[in-house]
């Protein structure tokens, strides 16, 4: 048995992510209050350790809702959208990347030109445009994220396929008489898995940041569902008098992204030795 030695940073990333996943799964059991319960008499109460009189750990917002409970429930939207967004954009991007790389010629030209056009539009700009015509909902949000992110998957998979296509084992499979679909599924796709995992891990962090930014602009999951970005947006108005309202949900986003980045960096180092120690 070889023992896998994890660096401290990767362990920290895993601890953060496990905690947040537990928050999302067990929110009903962990959260001290309902995330939507309002107590106007206790509005804008500071955290208990910063002069709060009503005993809220992270204080209350402008409607007297418990910020801790809302932060705990908010993890659900972030994780759902992040994971689903990566899964969808990964599925689309990998398929198109395989098609462009393996089929080549016209397929390659068309798919890569679409990718060029796509990349000329900044992701948040495109998202704004799509949300402007569709009503914001969690499904629309995931679709928007997938539309803006598939290119990263497609480009990397395509470039890997271009070299794999010429390799000896693919030629051997072709000589034996394997069909294209079988060659792609059994011989090419597994060899691109490492790159796909690395991009996916980095994209999750991007997606979570992106969802939070959209929610912050009021274009994310509609209220009353608690989402971190929207909480920051609603708290912005009170930033000079009640700093805890926008600060804690923002910190929650940061910790989630930090955990994902720590884990993603380690994965990249582990799967791509050329990048080690950089």
């Amino acid at each position: 048995m070889t023992r896998v030695r994890l660096p401290a940073t990767a362990v920290a990333g895993i601890v953060i992510l496990v905690a947040i996943v537990l928050f999302a799964l067990l929110a009903d059991a962990i959260a001290p209050r309902s995330p939507e319960a309002q107590r106007l008499v206790e509005r804008l109460d500071p955290p208990a350790w910063a002069g709060g009189v009503h005993g809220y750990v992270l204080g209350t917002d402008h409607l007297g809702r418990d910020i801790l409970s809302r932060v705990i429930y908010g993890s659900r939207v972030s994780l759902t959208v992040g994971l689903a967004g990566v899964a969808l954009s990964g599925a689309v991007g990998v398929t198109l990347g395989l098609a462009a790389g393996y089929l080549g010629r016209r397929w390659d030209a068309v798919i890569m030109r679409i990718a060029d056009v796509q990349q000329a539009i900044p992701s948040l700009v495109l998202a704004i445009a799509v949300v402007a015509v569709l009503r914001p909902s969690i499904v629309n949000l995931i679709v928007v994220l997938a539309v803006t992110a598939w290119v990263s998957f497609a480009r990397v998979v395509r470039s890997e396929v271009l070299s794999l296509r010429e390799s000896l084992f693919v030629e051997a499979a072709r000589v034996v008489g394997a069909r294209d679909l079988r060659i792609v599924a059994r011989h090419i796709l597994p060899n691109t898995a490492a790159s796909i995992i690395v991009i996916a891990s980095l994209m999750i962090a991007n997606m979570i940041l992106f969802e939070a930014s959209l929610s912050f602009l009021g274009l994310g999951v509609p209220p009353p569902t608690p989402s971190w970005g929207r909480m920051v947006f609603e708290g912005l108005e009170y930033v000079s008098t009640a700093w805890w309202v926008p600060l804690f949900p923002g910190v929650a986003v940061m910790l989630t992204v930090l955990g994902t980045n720590l884990l993603g960096d380690w994965l990249r180092d582990a799967l791509d030795p050329r990048q080690r120690g950089r």
Binding site: V117, A120, I128, A129, G218, V253
Partner: protein
């Protein structure tokens, strides 16, 4: 010259694709008349609107008409400002560009010294600090950075304004907010490409010639490490424009990002369409510029 021509043609094709997407957007909801009509439109008004805007014509005709107008910068009239939508957006472009320039300056001021120091002291304490800062910078959402900056420099120290667009002071906090992520990313890239450059043969040769460490790092290694750095800087424009939308909202800064967010709230679709096109045009132009600069920096590319 042929290369420049090729790249220009490519850029124009990309922009044509972008306008096609912008046109297609109105069909996402199923009925472009519903998408384009102002809020609170009754059913009778909708039919009138459809005829007046020519939305009852065949789609290919509408498309040709849209592209023909778009090429001339005509995206229709803003429902809110009752002015040409393109003019409304272009009016706000300089403010956003100022913000973006401050953001780039900030990210360069942070990333170049930090990246060089980290690479020179590879695996030392300075390197560890730089890596940590870079990781943190890539994880902080820009709205959190903006809020912390407001709390420290506007609410706490009262040094800088927390909102508005008057004077150079109002550019600093939003500029840092926009540039924070790029500063972190550029630090990482400069550090790793400089570490790689410092391990090359020509660096050993330079040392062997008796050059000082300073000369070797700044004159030889940094020049070679600059290439991926410049490429990435060009690719940052899209990120910076996205970041500007968030920062303009936090700091109530009168740029085109805030205009677009407001346009959504009032369902001013022509302004959104003009905004997407202008943003893409900026990205295409900057990348064209970076591409040309790249060829100027690297003689290997110029020769081939």
């Amino acid at each position: 010259m042929t290369y420049l021509f090729q790249r220009l043609a490519q850029g124009i094709l990309v922009l044509l694709g972008v306008t096609t997407i912008v046109f297609g957007l109105t069909f996402l909801s199923g009925d472009p008349a519903v998408t384009l009509a102002p809020l609170n439109t009754t059913r009778e008004e909708l039919e009138l609107f459809r005829q007046r805007m020519g939305l009852d014509r065949p789609v290919p005709v509408q498309y040709a008409d849209f592209i023909a107008s778009a090429v001339q910068g005509d995206f229709g009239e803003s429902f809110r400002y009752h002015e040409p939508a393109m003019g409304v957006v272009l009016e706000r472009v300089p403010a956003t560009l100022r913000l973006t320039v401050v953001a780039i300056l900030f990210s360069l001021l942070v990333s170049v010294p930090l990246g060089v120091l980290a690479a020179v002291h590879h695996n030392g304490p300075i390197d560890a600090i730089a890596r940590f800062l870079a990781l943190l910078g890539q994880s902080v959402p820009s709205f959190l950075l903006g809020i912390v900056l407001i709390l420290v420099f506007a609410v706490g120290l009262r040094w800088l304004p927390s909102s508005g667009g008057a004077g150079w002071q109002s550019l600093i906090l939003p500029g840092i907010t926009v540039g924070g992520f790029s500063a972190a990313l550029l630090t990482r890239v400069l550090r790793s490409s400089l570490i790689e450059a410092l391990g090359q043969e020509y660096v050993r040769t330079a040392y062997a010639k008796g050059l000082s460490r300073r000369a070797v790092v700044l004159r030889h290694a940094l020049r070679n490490a600059a290439l991926p750095f410049v490429t990435l800087l060009g690719l940052q424009v899209g990120f910076l424009l996205s970041g500007a939308i968030v920062a303009e909202t936090i700091f109530s800064y009168p740029g085109m990002g805030r205009l677009a967010v407001e346009a959504i709230a009032t369902k001013d679709i022509p302004v959104v369409q003009a905004f997407v096109t202008v943003a893409a045009a900026i990205v295409v132009l900057v990348n064209l510029g970076v591409d040309l600069a790249y060829r100027a920096i690297d003689p290997r590319i110029r020769l081939s």
